[in-house]
């Protein structure tokens, strides 16, 4: 340090200050690197205990599956849970029935057989030898018909009539008036009207079986949440982070194959992605992410396997039929005919977009096959010019010779919907340069749902996860009293066909009825369904079993969670 001269030119002092700052910065960086290497995150466990005591060491569950999920919503009540709920219950709860992931046929689970005694009565035979987790409040007791009956009544919102609106799966159990345990292993469902979809409703990932003790314990304490699933909660905090260990009394012998599941809950998608790239979680579900991001993750993790499969998340634009402009079928049809759904899907999803826009999930018995749809006007690339010419005629007949209509698209607040809507507008402008379409949004979920209910929109850009039953799905969207008929479309013939289908237990006849209704809806164009996006997930290569597992199931990420009981270390 100099002691003479102009102090402002005391370079040693300045240097000392900067040196000190540099040393501090280096020290902090070193501390960060040390902190990373001494992280206490879960590392793959060594071989764990056997799922069934006494099993040979080679078949004993081993390894730790590291799951990353969205924020867990409280309470942990599967009857009420919306988003991340299934990814938790998929590990610790079982369903009454399940759907085969390859052909979507109904298969037994906790209910091992069923008998349709009459159109309004179904008897379910509950499987014996299934035990709840060996912890409070069930303490490992055997599951019985009362548990199944209680669970179905809850999911159907029959036990809480004041708050029925909070139960999103209640439509799976339409017309059900009661579920009663007639003996220790038999549940009788009674309905006020036939509902052939009710069995598929029980195969919904989001309708697991809960113990009757839940009435008293509630669902706010994660340590008291129990099920019959392959894993039980060892530790879970209110943020959704925790560890699950093998249920030693799990009824499917030889399963699960992994000894432990750790859950990390992420508030943001970026943190989830970074965790997969940093190899601290074992799979990453990238549904509804742009193709460029999917590719970026692939480049960052070239060792990871990328799995894709059909998924029912349909992206669409829906007209509000109550608005005078869109009450005119010609305007709707004209706007629908000119849309190139493939171009819209490809632009956002690359190879992950399926080019047709089915009205019902394509793997269901009720769907007009995608291979048929793609030949229809509006979807067929070979007839695009003719479709545009037809659209112009329709618009002119409706009184808008140059397409000079003015309307707004209410855009939901996720990245894909503004992108889809911009492309739709651009396609319309190419055909009708005088058309005036504004994009209203992106709109957050609260006001979006409010405006949907109030009908205060012209068109809306949205997407929906399917239900487990094609007839219910179609009815939800297009019957005049459908819970997802946001555009207030109404056609008496469609209503009649939907009602008949729901009450028809013969699968072939049921499918034919819905297909008839679909033809009407296609011609009346209340909706432009552009495409559906395939589910895409990346999986760490050390796990085997995910690649064969995902199939048409429609419920996406939850399938990956259920697959946890099948996967094993390579």
């Amino acid at each position: 340090m100099t002691g003479t001269g102009n102090w402002a030119r005391s370079t040693m002092s300045r240097r000392g200050l900067i040196r000190g700052a540099g040393v501090m910065g280096v020290g902090l960086s070193a501390a960060a690197l040390i902190g990373c290497s001494s992280s206490t995150e879960t590392k793959p466990a060594a071989s764990g205990s056997s799922a069934a005591g006494g099993a040979a060491a080679s078949t004993a569950p081993k390894g730790t599956i590291r799951q990353g999920t969205g924020k867990l919503s409280e309470p942990y009540d599967p009857a009420i849970m919306l988003s991340a709920g299934p990814t938790y219950w998929g590990n610790w709860g079982n369903l009454a029935l399940t759907a085969n992931k390859q052909n979507y046929k109904l298969e037994p689970s906790l209910v091992e057989s069923w008998e349709v005694k009459s159109p309004t009565e179904i008897a379910l035979k509950v499987r014996k030898g299934v035990f709840f987790h060996d912890k409070a409040p069930t303490n490992g007791r055997e599951m019985n018909a009362s548990d199944v009956a209680y669970s179905l009544m809850r999911h159907a919102a029959l036990l809480d009539k004041e708050k029925v609106a909070l139960y999103p799966r209640r439509t799976n159990f339409r017309f059900m008036t009661e579920a009663v345990a007639t003996d220790a292993n038999t549940v009788t469902l009674k309905m006020s009207a036939p509902n052939s979809a009710i069995l598929n409703g029980m195969a919904d990932m989001r309708t697991p079986i809960m113990p009757v003790e839940s009435k008293d314990t509630g669902f706010t304490d994660p340590s008291k949440v129990v099920g019959t699933g392959p894993y039980m909660i060892k530790q879970l905090d209110n943020a959704g982070n925790g560890t699950l260990v093998v249920n030693p009394k799990y009824w499917e012998k030889g399963l699960p194959k992994a000894a432990e599941v750790t859950k990390q809950s992420f508030d943001t998608y970026q943190a989830n992605t970074a965790s997969f790239i940093g190899d601290t979680i074992d799979y990453l579900t990238m549904t509804n992410q742009p193709w460029s991001e999917v590719q970026a993750v692939g480049k960052a993790r070239p060792d990871a396997a990328r799995l894709t499969w059909d998924y029912g998340y349909i992206h669409y634009l829906r007209f509000n039929n109550k608005k005078p402009l869109f009450a005119d079928e010609r305007v709707r049809r004209a706007l629908t005919l000119v849309i190139d759904g493939k171009a819209i899907g490809d632009a956002f999803y690359g190879e992950l977009a399926s080019p047709t826009g089915p009205l019902v999930s394509t793997w269901t018995n009720e769907a007009i096959p995608a291979s048929e749809i793609v030949k229809r006007p509006g979807w067929n690339p070979a007839t695009r010019e003719a479709d545009i010419a037809e659209a112009k005629k329709l618009m002119e007949a409706a009184g808008f010779k140059e397409g000079e209509i003015s309307a707004a698209i209410m855009v939901f607040n996720t990245p894909v919907h503004p992108a889809n809507s911009e492309r739709v507008r651009a396609q319309w402008l190419r055909v009708w340069p005088k058309i005036k379409i504004t994009l209203d949004g992106p709109v957050d979920s609260g006001p979006f749902n409010q405006r949907l209910a109030a009908g205060t929109f012209d068109m809306m850009a949205y997407s929906n996860l399917p239900t487990t039953d094609g007839a219910v799905e179609f009815q939800n969207f297009y019957a005049s009293d459908g819970s997802r008929n946001y555009g207030s479309f109404a056609d008496p013939e469609v209503d009649k066909l939907c009602a008949a289908a729901i009450q028809e237990f013969d699968i072939a006849k049921r499918g034919a009825l819905i297909k008839q209704a679909e033809e009407i809806v296609i011609n009346k164009s209340p909706i432009i369904s552009y495409y559906y996006a395939k589910q895409v997930s990346y999986v760490t290569p050390k796990w085997a079993g995910y690649e064969g597992y995902p199939g048409p199931g429609g419920q996406g990420g939850a399938d990956m969670v259920e697959a946890c009981k099948f996967v094993s270390l390579k």
């Binding site: 990373c36 909070l166 508030d267």
Partner: protein, 279 residues
């Protein structure tokens, strides 16, 4: 002094009442209510079902009635029960407030400990490369919001080095791992405030260094360092200290956003849109 403090504390009461009223009104005015948020895209419900739900949740009462009921609870220390979570709000706050407080305090300390010396260095090296470099980074970090910095801190190391910052480690699992897990979140929160402190400190230090008493001190033969720290710093700190007090509120709001990016179990990650309490 005692009387002054008592007056200021008493003045807090009407201020808190006004803030509480404003918050309640603003939540009420936000489009879409807690029921819309809870229902999500589960489908439309009939007006009767909605009315029943509102009644069961106490939302059918008028806003003034709900406000007075809520106020009565607050005065008694009861913050109500969260409609969406079904748990007492005070429990939820208690679980999480420590993490947010800790993050905020660390951020204040870091923004002071790094910001003030850097501001002084920039002032002392005025017009030189050091000064320009420090000011460049200060302006850069002033312009970048903390949530963006946080997101980049999480994503870029993962993409470039396949490294992800450590997840939050509770204090009872070890002090050092806990501090390491807080390091990047603290940096993300503190950067913008550090930048403000740098600029304020630089500016006030330059002012102070031009004062007559500083020249007098130097002419008496005191070393530059002694002049800076013993005479200059104390006076130059005044505006910065005032600023730090004003920054506190901003730090808390920055913290709750950054918590979500780093998945810290603080108040930020427990926030839910439009959640209100049952009256």
């Amino acid at each position: 002094m005692g009387r002054y403090i008592a007056r200021r504390v008493l003045a807090l009461i009407p201020q808190l009442l006004i803030i509480l009223a404003l918050v309640v009104v603003m939540v009420e005015l936000t489009p879409g209510d807690v029921i819309d948020s809870m229902l999500g895209d589960s489908g439309q419900i009939t007006p009767e079902a909605r009315a029943k739900l509102e009644r069961s949740l106490g939302l059918d009462k008028s806003l003034p009635v709900r406000y007075v009921s809520y106020l009565g609870g607050v005065i008694q220390g009861d913050l109500g029960v969260s409609i969406t979570r079904g748990r007492p709000v005070s429990d939820m706050i208690q679980e999480r407030v420590l993490v947010t407080t800790e993050l905020t305090i660390y951020a204040v300390i870091v923004s002071i400990v790094i910001g003030i010396p850097l501001g002084m260095a920039a002032a002392v090296a005025r017009g030189k490369v050091t000064d320009y470099a420090i000011r460049f980074f200060a302006v850069l970090f002033l312009g970048i919001p903390s949530f963006l910095v946080a997101t980049m801190m999480v994503l870029l190391p993962a993409l470039w080095f396949r490294w992800r910052p450590p997840l939050f480690v509770p204090l009872d699992k070890g002090l050092l791992p806990h501090l390491f897990s807080m390091l990047l979140p603290v940096m993300a929160v503190s950067l913008v405030f550090m930048a403000t402190n740098v600029r304020m400190m630089r500016s006030s230090f330059i002012d102070v260094m031009q004062q007559d008493y500083i020249r007098t001190a130097r002419s008496k033969g005191l070393t530059a360092t002694r002049v800076w720290f013993r005479h200059g710093l104390k006076n130059a700190l005044l505006p910065t200290v005032t600023l730090i007090g004003l920054q506190a509120a901003g730090l808390v709001s920055g913290a709750v956003v950054v918590e979500q990016v780093f998945t810290l179990p603080g108040l930020g990650s427990s926030m839910h849109s439009r959640d209100v309490t049952t009256p």
